[in-house]
Subunit: 160 residues, 2 copies
């Protein structure tokens, strides 16, 4: 589990660095298919990971969810990602198989109560980020730039 | 590990079913950003999963890799995916933590010998499919169709 989170965090950092070489209007342009712009997609990735893992940590959310307009630049987003990471990394590093079937109660957007296993939520968060990063790779080519590699191998994650 | 493979297999099936409702010229049109067309991307996903897992199974490859032109329709691709699945599913279902650090020797495209841990290869294959499915979701919106949901929750993968 941890290795896939480390992969996501490394890839996300690579994409934030990639953003440094792209004009801000390209980063903020609303695009077809994903959640919005390139920067909004990265914001959404951070936000969703933080939201789900905070719930499993039993944290109370701030009264209002963060607003993208407060983070709509590469450096602000980098800081936001780092700050969220600090909050959730201890949970990910402390993960063990005994936590797999713990139950998270969640009220969905329709107000219904849903229950998920912690192991299900963790994998949902992992797949969520990889999926949206795949979308960024298309937009990257659309603006004529080479995307960050999605390869998990050759990233030093499994050094011996 | 297994749950994420099951997620990928279920999502892949959903995308193949989605293809049934799309004109073949749209499915075969070369698009910007991914490996090629929608059908080629699905072929590539199947091929890469089969290739890596076959190597870990110690299987000898057929002398020539499969050619996309032999599988360039939804039903042929569905059959190809099923046939590859039959070959590799026993390995995935038989996975255990003792296999994590086994070493796979691989000759890369430049002819150099590389070594990967089995656990690294398994996660690479998982991330590979999710990444490319993210690309399909963009193209789906481009042709005005709702994509298959990428949610891992609410798929019955963790039924209690």
């Amino acid at each position: 589990m941890l290795k896939l989170f480390e992969y996501n965090w490394q890839v996300r950092k690579d994409w934030l660095d990639w953003c440094d070489s792209v004009a801000e209007d390209e980063l903020l342009k609303i695009r077809t298919g994903g959640p919005g712009s390139i920067l909004y997609t990265l914001f959404h990735i951070v936000d969703v990971e933080y939201g789900w893992i905070s719930m499993m940590q039993g944290k109370t959310f701030p009264p209002m969810p963060p607003s993208f307009k407060d983070y709509a630049s590469v450096q602000k987003l980098r800081d936001y990602s780092a700050s969220c990471h600090e909050g959730i990394a201890p949970f990910v590093y402390g993960w063990n198989s005994g936590m797999e079937s713990l139950i998270l109660d969640d009220q969905n957007e329709s107000g219904e109560l849903e229950q998920f296993q912690y192991g299900e939520v963790m994998r949902h968060v992992l797949a969520h980020e990889i999926h949206h990063i795949g979308q960024l790779s298309i937009w990257s080519r659309e603006i004529g730039k080479q995307p960050v590699t999605a390869n998990l191998i050759r990233r030093g994650l499994f050094d011996r």
